[in-house]
């Protein structure tokens, strides 16, 4: 069982590094969004600080959604998905491994980059640990949600963009709690409340997400 998770994880990570431009791009995308935004907005420090949290979370959300489009599409267009479905492991497990791999290449680097963006929006240094914690709890949920969307649309050519449509409403709570946590942290107030909420959403998503995703993939290819 665990062996299968390890194999798929390795395969997907290796694929991601092989197409490393794909891997690096959402991040660069994130950096560019975070740097073009102040250009477009008026570059007033106080104002930048107050919208900083929102922009960081919006762009984290967008870049993680962008990264997840190919999660099942590539596999189903070249016939690999059929092979995985027929494989000697429950599909839920395979899907779980794929989500973890994708989180590792899209979510984890965000944890490293977000603080840099935060600084460019003049967020106080003391708020960084909370920002990173909030992102660490939120990105798995975003990955799971995007995976569900990717699976639902895998049989449509249009998938790429319809994911946004299906998933954005569901990401609302994550976005709100995350921004709340960051804002509170910037003001030096305690952030335990929103962090707990983010954590419980993450637990829910990670436990229920893979089986739902697996069912969607299977149906899409039937």
């Amino acid at each position: 069982m665990l062996d299968v998770v390890r194999q798929i994880l390795l395969r997907d990570l290796r694929l991601a590094f092989r197409r490393w431009s794909e891997m690096a791009t959402p991040l660069i995308f994130f950096v560019i969004i975070a740097s073009l935004f102040p250009l477009a907005a008026s570059p007033d420090e106080a104002q930048l600080r107050s919208t900083g949290a929102a922009v960081i979370w919006m762009s984290a959300l967008l870049s993680s959604l962008l990264a997840l489009d190919g999660l099942f599409r590539a596999d189903s267009e070249d016939g690999s998905m059929e092979q995985l479905i027929l494989g000697p492991a429950p599909l839920g497990l395979v899907v779980f491994a794929k989500i973890v791999a994708h989180w590792a290449v899209s979510g984890v680097p965000l944890l490293v980059l977000a603080p840099l963006a935060a600084l460019s929006f003049y967020l106080p240094l003391t708020a960084l640990p909370e920002l990173i914690a909030a992102l660490a709890l939120a990105t798995p949920t975003l990955s799971v949600l995007a995976a569900i969307g990717a699976a639902l649309t895998v049989s449509l050519r249009a998938g790429g963009t319809i994911i946004g449509l299906l998933i954005l409403p569901l990401t609302g709570p994550v976005l709100i709690f995350g921004t709340r946590a960051t804002e509170l942290a910037a003001l030096g107030e305690p952030v335990a409340g929103p962090l707990y909420l983010l954590a419980s959403v993450a637990v829910l998503a990670v436990s229920l997400g893979p089986p739902i995703t697996a069912a969607a993939v299977r149906t899409a290819l039937e």
Partner: protein, 197 residues
């Protein structure tokens, strides 16, 4: 297999088809374009659910097979199921470890004349070379039932001969195969029954 009915998109395709294969038998599925060969193979593989009837594999319906028994079925469809960004070797290695195959890779690669392409990405192979890799991949699964959908597509004469050899060997070891094809003459020597749709 009991009387089987397959539909696609609400239109009945196959009706009252039924056959039974015992160890060592190879069935050729023939029929005009669109007669339902691919659909039949997908149903047998458990990728699609029959509209009526059922397909049994050792006493239980295929689309309810527990994952550990699915390892006994190897399916190769019209699509190759290879990763374009991986080299031939990487693809084969994944197949072998995912399916826990025990067959050694070297002889198969040599038979398919892929030695000098082992480190090349699939994207940079010709159509027939890709098909060869996909066939080797299929062989790496320790399966007793082979489901091959037009395996000869894009293969040259030598490749075709290798596939025929493989089918014969598989039958000799007591394996079962269902092969769809438009060139039954070419595969005749390896087949024991023909299912014409």
């Amino acid at each position: 297999m009991t009387s089987l009915e397959v539909r696609r998109g609400g239109i009945g395709l196959l009706r009252d088809l039924s056959f039974k294969l015992s160890p060592g038998q190879t069935a050729l599925v023939t029929g005009a374009n669109g007669s339902g060969k691919s659909s039949l193979l997908r149903v047998i593989a458990g990728l699609a659910v029959p509209a009526a009837g059922r397909i049994d594999w050792r006493g239980s319906a295929v689309h309810r097979l527990p994952p550990e028994d699915r390892g006994e079925i190897a399916y190769l469809g019209h699509l190759d199921g290879l990763k374009q960004e991986f080299t031939v070797d990487e693809n084969l290695e994944f197949c072998r470890s995912f399916w826990k195959g025990r067959e050694p890779v070297e002889p198969l690669v040599a038979e398919m004349r892929l030695e000098s392409y082992r480190h090349r990405n699939i994207r940079r192979l010709s159509a027939g070379q890709r098909r060869r890799v996909a066939l080797v991949c299929m062989r790496l699964k320790p399966a007793r039932l082979w489901l091959l959908d037009e395996p000869l597509t894009n293969l040259d004469t030598r490749g075709t001969e290798v596939v025929i050899e493989w089918l014969k060997g598989h039958a000799a070891e007591g394996g079962i195969a269902v092969v769809s094809t438009h060139r039954p003459k070419r595969l005749e020597t390896a087949a024991s029954i023909e299912v014409a749709l």
